[in-house]
Structure formats: C-alpha cells, structure tokens
Amino acid sequence: MSDPIIKIQNMNKWFGDFQVLKNINLEVEANKKIVVCGPSGSGKSTLIRCINRLEEHQEGDIIVDGNELSEKTKDIEKIRAEVGMVFQQFNLFPHLSILDNCTLAPIWVKKMPKKEAQELALDQLKKVQIDDQANKFPGQLSGGQQQRCAIARALCMQPKIMLFDEPTSALDPEMIKEVLDAMVSLAKGGMTMIVVTHEMGFAKEVADEVIFMDEGMIIEKADTKEFFANPKSDRTKLFLSQIL
C-alpha cells in the first residue's frame, strides 16, 4: 500500500462559533477516485476547499503530497498548482477567451513558453471536445461547455489531484451528461479525484470509495459497491432512499 497523497487527521473547522467540520479523518491514495455526498450544509464543499486551502482549518493536520497545510506553509501557490479545482459556478475569467483562460496560469505560474502552453491548452480542450470554441469568450458558451472548459483549464496545470465541487449542480439536465462524460474519461485516465456530487450514477461508475457526510462529520466511508449495497448507518440509508 502506497503512501496517501492526501492525509487529513483530526481536522476541525469553525466559521465563527459554528463548527462546520468535526474531527475529519481521511486518507486518499494516488489514482483513487473518491465521491463525497451528503445533504446541503453538511460541509462537503468546505472539506474539499480546505484541501487546497481556499478555506483555512483551525485544528488538525492536512497533508497534501507531503506538504503540510498551515499558516506556516510558505509556498501555498505551489501546492495549489498541483491541485486542480472545478467549481459549481465554473468561474471562468469572463474577460479572457477560452484559450487564454487555459493558458494564463501555465504561462504565468509555471513559466511555460506561450506556444507550448497554447498547444497544451488546445490538446486539453480537444479532450473535452470544445477545441473549436477556443477563441470565443466564456459568455458565448453554454453552461456545459463552460464547465468543460473549466475542467480543461484546471488540467492545463497538469495537477496531481483534481477536486470537483458540485460540478454539475448549476447545469441543465441535458448538459450534465457532457460534463460527466468528460469527468469519466478523466477518471479512466488515472487521475486522483475527489468529487462532491449528487450524481450517484457517476459515483457507481467511477468511484473507488464513497464518503457520506452530515452535520460536518464523515458518517460513512466505504467501497462504492458496499456503500450502495448495504449502507451501515441509518442516516445514510435515509439519504440514499431519498435520492435514488
């Protein structure tokens, strides 16, 4: 068994007086795909935002690829460059074309030559099948196309880990499939992924493990088949019965 790429130990986080995450323990090995589900307000998004330190945790340790995240972490940008993230609201940069969205970070963060970055970006855009839209602006694209572009943008940084924060929640049902397809093919390529989603079909298809969270705690963590076949806790059973 290899060393986990993400290791979270006894992590606690508060927003003011409100404790959003309670005693989180989680280990993710390289190339594993984890799906995190649970009712809204259960802290799923906060958990994965902690992994690239968009949110700061107050207690416990988070170790990403051998680097501990804390106030003392100096090169947080370096760690973030290794961890790609896809957001619910796409968060493309509206003032840049699709291609520039994808090349911005490689050029300025990784110091990649412009030409190389553009080739890489077109390559990634091709994988999510929007290379023909490269010169358009985000506002001219459909939601599904924007989200696929956001995936390509994150992949252009050639990250070791990809985090997905409800990537399909803001999309029309018709567009969900095209985004999920892109994610499935990414998963089959061997990327380490942590996906917060309600798409249980996706979880069944690609996830190695499923985590169920409620009220800031990890209620259940099990292999995918096990999770859906015989969930242990009553809360999980209730949740599954409602969304399946």
Binding site: L54, R80, A81, E82, N91, P94, H95, L104
Partner: protein, 423 residues
C-alpha cells in the same frame, strides 16, 4: 364622450388624422415662431390671454389627433411613444418646444447678431450684444496666462510632444505590448514631466527661465489636470487594494489615508500645500508652488479613485478569486491578470466621473495664486480697461470646459464599448 371619440383616431383613418394633426401642430409652431422672431401676433384677432394660449390649444388638439397605440408607421409610433403618451406629456412637449423657440431670438441676437468682434479695445463694443472683442484681445492670456508671448511656441511644442508620446501605445510592437502598463504608469509621466520642465520652464538649452507663477490660462488647466490624472489613478489603485488587504498595517494605513483626504475640502488642502507646508520644510529646501499644488490635488483625488476602484473590486464574485487561487496564482498575479482587468472595466464610468470632477476642480488653484482659465477670467474682469464683460468671459470658459469634459466622457464611453465582453 362622443366629441372626444370624434378626435380619437383608429387604425383605418390614422392617415388622415395624422395629416390634420401635424398640420395643426405646424400652425401652432408657426404662430409661436412668428411671434418670437418677427414680433407679429398672428392671432391678434383673439381676445387677450386666449391669443397666447391659442398655439398651445391648437397643438394639443393636433397631438391628440395623432395619438394611437400602434399605427405601423415607425416615425409616428416613435413620436407617440416618446413625447405624446398622454395629454399631460403632450402639453409638456409643446411648452418645451415653445420655450426653446422663445428663447432663441434673444440669445441669438445677444451672441451673434448684435455682438461685436472687430477692433481691439473696449470702444469697439457699441452694440447691445456680446463683446467678443474682449475674448479676442485676451485670448492669448486665457490660453497661456502671463507666459511671455514670444515663448508661446514652447508650450505648444511641449503639448504636441506629450500628446504624441501618449499615442505610442497604439503603435507599439506586439512583443512590447506587455510593457504597456509600465510605460503609461511610470515612463510616460516621467518623460512628460521632463518635456514640460525643460520646454515650458526652460532655464537650460538656451531657453529662458519662466517661473511657474507666470504660467496660466488653459495651458495650466491642462498641465495640472494631466499630471493629477495620471498620478492619482495608480495611487488610487494601490490604496484600493490596500484597503482590502489582509495585513492590518496596510489595511489601516489605507483606511486612514482615504478617510483623511475624503474628509477635508480641496480648498483647504490647497491652502495647506501653499501656506502651511513650506513652514515644515527645511530652510534651504524649495519646492515649486505648482508642484506642491499638483501633489496636493493628486493625493486628494487618489482617495476618491481608491473608493471607486474598491467598488469595482467588491463587485467581482468571490469565485473569480477562488479560481485564480486554485490555479496557483499568488496575490499579485491574481490581481494583475484576473481581478484588476475586470474590476477596472467595471469602474470606467465611476473613474470618468472622478476625472471630470478633477478637471472642473482645477479652477480652485486660484486661491493659491495660480491663474488657470477661470482664474485668468477673474483677473481679466477686474482690469479697469475692460470692466463689465464677465458674462462673455464665463460663457467662453463654460464652452471650453464643456468641450473638454464632453470629450472625456465620450472617450470613456468608447473605452467601455471597447472592453465590453459578454458575461
């Protein structure tokens, strides 16, 4: 009801109705025009006040006959939608039209028909109209202040050079474009300063020294506005970012700065800069009055710019920050490539507002003895040889200021359109 319906058109007879209606409106306009321009009352056969109300009533009936929800005729529909939605608006439309017509003849005769422009002394102005001779004679003073006449070419050359250097950005080679911001924020102001210093101040290269006290008129307005504009914007940006900083020292320094400068009136700042400030300086240290004034206005306006820019920064969704951070960008990269380009685009109208206010605030430097355009007017109107022409002077200055400000606001619209991307 029948009588009102009689005047109401429907889609079948709208053609006839609109012809009759516009004819009635035309008659009412002709009546007012002949009244205003030819001083003849076509309706003198009517009794007293009825005669003066006649065009209004006629016009109202005319507009009423033309009013219809939808006619299919584009011009007519546009007219109805904009100025003829109901009787009240029709009356307002007519009254505004009539007032404009009534006001035209007296202002025309004062400004043009009865005005004088020939000659070069007050005696040339004999008419009852405006005395443009005054503006003509004082024109060079209004433009260049007390700057010696034979050296005016120096100011002109300096301005042409500075403007030409400002266009360098358009012709820059593609691979140098990334230094554009650096050029405009640092290099350009320095070059502009040197050009203005060596050409207008003189003192070297065989050019005679002209002290800043002699500068004035519109050229001084331009110099003060120009330097304040290019310096206050980057400074404001720094304080806007500073106020949002996570570092308490930077944050509170920025807040103090902004609140201090927004809290004091510009006129006191100018007084302080020219009266109090030198007292705190060492004996042998000298800073020119004009430089002090420019610094004072820059610091003052930077606080306003900062708040406008902060508004833009705050209107960006948090997701933009998240996305930039998640791609591994640090504070500066995130702001330079993602946040500021979007925020500055959003604040173009607000910044244009601040800049226009700045240009119109420059006349205040008169209180410290610098006479730009409005200041020169104030001096000129107290000249014993030319008493009594304040009106002409102020109209002249208003027109000049209006042209400057309108050009600036047009330019800001262009910028907005240029940087518009669909969201």
């Amino acid at each position: 009801m029948q009588t009102i319906n009689f005047l109401k058109p429907n889609r079948d007879n709208i053609k006839n109705y609109s012809i009759i209606g516009s004819f009635l409106v035309l008659i009412s306009l002709i009546d007012v025009i002949s009244n205003a321009f030819l001083k003849t009352n076509l309706t003198s056969f009517l009794h007293g006040s009825l005669s003066s109300l006649f065009p209004l009533i006629l016009g109202l009936i005319g507009l009423n006959m033309m009013r219809i929800d939808y006619s299919g005729n584009k011009t007519l529909d546009k007219l109805n939608k904009n100025i003829n939605t109901n009787n009240f608006n029709a009356v307002l439309t007519l009254l505004i039209l009539f007032s404009i017509i009534k006001a035209l003849p007296p202002s025309l005769s004062w400004m043009i028909l009865d005005a004088n422009i020939s000659g070069d002394s007050k005696d040339a102005c004999t008419g009852t109209g405006a005395c443009w001779t005054y503006i003509k004679v004082w024109f060079r003073r209004f433009m260049y202040g007390m700057y010696p006449n034979e050296f005016h070419w120096r100011i002109n050359t300096a301005f042409i050079l500075v403007i030409a250097l400002g266009f360098v950005g358009y012709f820059m080679k593609e691979n140098l474009k990334k230094y554009l911001a650096l050029y405009y924020v640092i290099i350009y102001p320095v070059i502009a300063y040197l050009v203005i210093y060596y050409l207008i101040s003189g003192g070297s290269f065989g050019l005679q020294w002209v002290e800043t006290g002699a500068w004035g008129g519109l050229s001084l307005t331009f110099i003060v506005s120009f330097f304040c504009l290019i310096f206050c914007f980057p400074l404001g940006m720094i304080f806007a970012l500073g106020r949002r900083s996570n570092l308490p020292a930077i944050k509170y320094i920025s807040i103090c700065y902004i609140e201090f400068w927004r809290g004091v009136p510009l006129i006191t700042v100018l007084f302080m800069s020219s009266v109090m400030f030198p007292m705190f300086l060492p004996e042998d240290f000298f800073m020119d009055k004009l430089v002090r004034v420019i610094i004072a206005i820059t610091l003052f306006e930077a606080a306003y710019c900062a708040e406008v820019i902060r508004g833009g920064l705050q209107s960006l969704p948090r997701g933009q920050y998240d996305a930039a951070k998640s791609l591994g960008m640090g504070y500066w990269k995130m702001h330079i490539f993602v946040i500021l380009p979007q925020a500055l685009k959003l604040v173009i109208p607000g910044i244009a507002n601040t800049f226009l206010a700045l240009v119109k605030d420059t006349p205040l430097i008169f209180v410290v003895g610098l006479a730009e355009l409005a200041g020169m007017l104030a001096l000129a109107k107290t000249n014993p040889k030319w008493l009594g022409f304040a009106m002409e002077g102020y109209i002249f200055a208003s027109i000049i200021f209006w042209i400057i400000c309108y050009a600036m606001s047009k330019y800001s619209y262009n910028l907005e359109a240029k940087y518009k991307t669909e969201r």
